[in-house]
Every structure is written in C-alpha cells, then in structure tokens.
C-alpha cells in the first residue's frame, strides 16, 4: 500500500525537490592569498652582516663571474657563493658572502663590486675565505633603493646609517576570503626569471691577480673595462671610476632606453641589451662618460647580447615580463658600428645567455638545454652538440671549459676536443 502511494507521488516529489533546491545551489568560491609584511633592520647593522660565511647549499642560481681558479655564483638577493674550481671535474663550494639584496657583481683583481639593494658595496676578496666589505656607496642604484625613499634621503647628502631601515626579509601569513572571479581575471604578467639572472667569464688557469678582470657573461648588468665600472639600471648606464679600487667614484649616468637588461664589454665598446634593441657605446675617447655610437632595434623581447669584432649575437626570448613573442638568435653585422644591420636569424626554443670562444658559439636555450655551434659561417651555423639535461640560463666558455648556470645548479662541460664535448661536473 505504502509503495503504491510512493509510486503515485514520485514525480510530484521529484519536481517538488527540484523546485525547493535548484535556487539554493550556490557556488562557494574562496580565495587564499598571502599577506606579506616587511622585516626591517637599521642600515648600519645590515652593512655589518655583509661578510664571509661558511659555505651553504646553492638553492637558487644567479649570475656567475670567473676569475683565476674561483667561480663566484650569486644567489639572487642573498649573496655570492665562492666555488674553488681548481679541478673543473670536481668543483668545491668553499664559502658564501652574505650580501642581502644582491643581484649583480663584477670583479677585478682582488676587488668585488656588488649591489646591495641601492648601495654599491666594494669587497676585498684577496682571501676568498675571509671576504671583507671595504666601502659602501649609498643609493647609487635608486631603482632598488626602496629604503632610501622611506627614509627621506637626499642623494649626495650625508646621513646617519642608523636612521635608515632596510628590508631584510618578509613575514607572511595566509588569509582566505570569499571570492567571486566573475567572468574575468586581473591581468598579471609572468615573471621573467632569466631577465634578472646573469654573470661573467674568466680564466681558469691562474689565481686572481691584481690586474686581472673577470669576464662577465651575457646576462650581466655590471661590467669593467680598464679603470671603470659600468652598471645598467632600468633605463640608464652609470659609470664609476675604480682607479682606487676600494673607493669607487661615481662619474656619470647616461639615459639609454626603458627596460635595460644586460651589458657586455667588447674591447672599448659596451653593448647594452634592452627590450627593444641593442645600444652600442664607445668608452675609448671618454671612458668616464660612454658615448652612444650605434644601435640596432628589434621587436620587443628579452635579449642578452654578446659581440666579436664583426658581429653581435642577440638572443630574443618570449618571456612575458618583456612582452616578447619571438624565440630567436639574431646576428647583426657591426663592422661599421654606426651602421649595424641584421644578417640572419635562427629559431630557438627559449634562448637566454650565450658565449663565444673562437668559432664556437654556446647558447643556453632555456629548457631545451645547451647548444654548441660551429659559427665560422654565420649564415650556416652547424650544431656540434646539444645537452638537454638542464634548464640553462647563462654560459661562460673559455679555455676548453664551458661553465653553465642552470636552474638546477652549475654544470661544466669540456669542449677542448670538439668531437668529444662532454659533461665533467655538476654542482
């Protein structure tokens, strides 16, 4: 009897159910985000912390500089690892220089120049195990000097370092709120991790000497030619006289273009890579104030550049921070630097840093790894070897050893015999 009643009322029941509940089916959407609060330290204490520490594990790779038997590998915003590369088949991480806020560096003789947020810090590296900060030039990189703004510092004036607070870290906590994403999203641009990575090449056969200058890699933003240190900011090129190595003296700043990325020295020329092209400066006539002598424009992209006597090699990649759309190597004729012109382009996966040793061209192709070409004929690059074992950012190729900075560490390849290029170590 009951069953028949149910049978009779089932359809009515179902419709009643639908009526009752269809309007109650609300989506519950929550958004969890992080509230980040800065941790401050007074500038005087902050500066005291810039010194050698015992070796630490390399967690994030940055820029490299090689001089003598040592590799200096930066860990972005934390400091610089010092690696004893006496035996490239077995490099040893021997020390760490704590430099909060550091992104770039350059080395000549026993002096290392590094940025520490907005300051230029000069360090004595004559004993790599006991590096000492010798000088601080305040607020010379205003793009990164967030704390000077809040302290009301006026450039060129003296100030009390105890009166300036520096952000040395952040504390974070999560919070969850109701959220209605609607039909659209806020527009964000992806990071361009490789845009801020970079460094330099150098000799592997001898210890650092007073007169030797480390060679910087294609993604570096610091460079040294003779007695001058050149650095690039977001839109400018700044020069320091380092005749007195521990006391760099500001000499000039010239405007370049927006979104300056890299600087590369070639004899008495500087090649400045920007999102929109390559700007070439002469530093022979007036080294203290580089003079623009040529430029080559390209479609917007992230673009490290290197050069030899005849050609500039520009890698363009499509990192979204640069709003790029191309992944190419472009070769530019610079025989007449004031009338440079495009010669040839090659397609790549995501090219970043590059290096050239003789006719051998080394290209870090992002996640596609390292590619080595015979570039004796720039119209017909011949692939000699490729290694796809890492996501590579930058490379220094000298004396038969290619030192590669990758997301997963530092790799070294022996290319002394082109028919037998092989990996010899990973750190």
């Amino acid at each position: 009897m009951k069953w028949k009643i149910w049978q009779t009322n089932n359809i009515r029941f179902a419709f009643l159910f639908a009526f009752l509940f269809s309007g109650c089916m609300k989506d519950k959407i929550t958004k969890t985000y992080t509230i980040t609060t800065p941790i401050f330290e007074v500038l005087s204490k902050f500066r005291e912390s810039i010194k050698s520490q015992p070796a630490t594990d390399i967690s994030i790779t940055g820029k490299i500089s090689v001089i003598g038997k040592y590799i200096y590998l930066s860990e972005p915003y934390k400091g610089v690892h010092i690696i004893d590369n006496s035996n490239p088949a077995s490099p040893r991480n021997v020390s760490f220089i704590n430099i909060p806020g550091n992104e770039d560096m350059a080395i000549t003789g026993n002096t290392l120049y590094a940025d520490a947020y907005g300051d230029l810090v000069t360090l004595d590296i004559s004993n790599p195990l006991n590096v000492v900060a010798k000088n601080f030039a305040p607020n010379v990189f205003p793009d990164h000097a967030v704390y000077y703004y809040t302290a009301g510092y006026v450039p060129g004036t003296t100030f009390n370092p105890d009166s300036v607070n520096v952000i040395v870290g952040y504390s974070s906590r999560d919070t969850t709120v109701d959220y209605d994403p609607g039909n659209g999203y806020p527009v964000y641009y992806a990071n361009c991790p490789n845009c801020s990575l970079a460094p330099s090449p150098a000799a592997l056969t001898a210890n650092a000497s007073q007169n030797k200058t480390a060679t910087n890699g294609s993604t570096a933003r610091f460079s040294i030619i003779n007695q001058f240190l050149y650095t690039v900011g977001y839109s400018n090129l700044t020069t320091f006289d380092i005749s007195n190595s521990f006391t760099p003296a500001f000499t000039s700043t010239v405007q370049v273009d927006w979104h300056v990325e890299t600087i590369y020295p070639m004899k008495n020329k500087l090649f400045v890579g920007t999102n929109n092209g390559v700007y070439m400066y002469d530093v022979q006539s007036v080294p203290a104030k580089p003079a623009l002598v040529g430029q080559f424009t390209h479609i917007r992209a992230c673009d490290p550049v290197i050069a030899d006597d005849n050609y500039a090699y520009v890698t363009l990649n499509d990192s979204s921070a640069c709003l790029g759309v191309l992944d190419q190597l472009q070769i530019v004729n610079i025989k007449d630097i004031s009338n440079s012109f495009w010669v040839k382009s090659y397609q790549f996966t995501h090219p970043v840093g590059l290096s050239k040793d003789g006719d051998n061209l080394f290209i870090c192709d992002g996640r596609a790894g390292l590619k080595i070409y015979d570039a004796s004929d720039i119209n017909n690059l011949k692939l000699l070897k490729e290694f796809s074992d890492a996501t590579d950012y930058d490379v220094i190729a000298e004396n038969g050893i290619a030192i590669v900075v990758a997301a997963s560490g530092l790799y070294e390849y022996d290319y002394s015999q082109l028919g037998n290029i092989h990996l010899i170590s990973k750190l």
Binding site: F17, H144, G169, Y170, A190
Partner: protein
C-alpha cells in the same frame, strides 16, 4: 539556505530507502553486468551545463556497484572518475532508485578556460560527489530508461602566482589559490542495459 536543506534532503533519501526496503521482493542471487549511460544537465549558480556519464558494474539483488567516467562542463570542463552505488526498490516496470557517486574530478580545460596571462596557473583535481534518486522504467527484457535527480558537488583548486614585477627586490613570490566548491542540481536521463 543550502546548508539547512541539504541534511533534510539526505534524510528524505534515507527514510525512503529504509521504508521501501521492506517492500521489495527477493531478486535473483547472481551477479549481472550492467551498463548505465547518462546525459543530463547541471543547474547551479553559474548556469546550466551539459554532463555525460557511463557507469559500468554489476548488480546483485537490488544493489548495483560500478565505476563511472564522465564529462562535466559546469564552469570548467572536468572528467569525473567515481564509484557508483545504487539500490532499486519495487518489482514493477517502474522502480525507484537511490544512488550515490563519489570520486575525483580531473581537469581537462578547454582553450577558452585556460588563462595565458596568469603565471603558473594550474588547476588541481578535486572531489566529485553526486547523490539522488529517480525512476527506472523497464523497456523490454534487458533495457531500462533512467530518470534521476540529485545533488552534485564539484570541487577544484586553482593556484597561480602574482608577479613581482613592480615589487621591491627580494619580495617573496605571491601565490594565490582559489577553491571552487560548486553545488549543482543534477538532472539526468539514461539508458541501462
């Protein structure tokens, strides 16, 4: 409102099952393969969306258990993979059925649903559940028409990073997470054989 009514709905289903279980007569004591194939609508705050399911399993007496695979187009296209358990009541050509599904939603976003302007935007799999009741109408010896209505839940988690482009140096990467808890009315028509 929903929080208040959902327990009522569960009670109705359980009471119905308990009351009617006393009514059923003995069914054959052997396992029989059955395939249930449904199409239907998912009705919720986002709107109406299409769904598709195939459930394959075995029936023993009035109980059926099977594994289901589907397509769920509500808000984001997903593939639910789930365990289905159902019981039928009555012996006539029209039977009442009560079912419960639980499993996992795997994301299979359409090109329009994928965002290209968020850094590392990822959708993670989440819970899938559907329970309700309906009719099973006999169409010949082995075929049945199914009409069901129920509550369906789809959970998804989206994570992405916000950029540090204009932030101070060393600013930690901001990762944000959106949790979707999507409540739907599930209306299905199916064919069982």
């Amino acid at each position: 409102m929903f929080k208040m009514k959902c327990p009522i709905f569960i009670c109705i289903i359980l009471c119905t099952a308990a009351e009617l279980s006393a009514q059923q007569k003995t069914l054959p004591d052997r396992w029989q393969f059955h395939s249930v194939n449904n199409v239907g609508l998912l009705e919720g705050q986002t709107g109406s969306s299409f769904q598709l399911q195939t459930i394959n399993g075995a029936q023993y007496r009035s109980w059926f258990a099977g594994i289901g695979l589907g397509l769920d187009f509500y808000r984001y296209r997903t593939i639910p993979l789930f365990l289905d358990i159902r019981q039928e009541f009555g012996r006539s050509t029209k039977k009442l059925i009560v079912y419960a599904d639980i499993g996992i939603n795997f994301c299979w976003l359409t090109d329009n649903e994928k965002t290209t302007y968020l850094a590392n935007d990822k959708f993670n799999k989440g819970l899938y559940a559907d329970f309700g009741l309906g009719y099973k109408i006999g169409l010949g010896k082995t075929n049945n028409l199914l009409l069901t209505i129920g509550y369906s839940l789809k959970k998804l988690k989206e994570t992405y990073e916000t950029p540090e482009y204009y932030y101070p140096p060393n600013y930690p990467p901001d990762k944000e997470q959106i949790n979707y808890h999507l409540n739907r009315l599930s209306i299905k028509i199916g064919w069982e054989f």
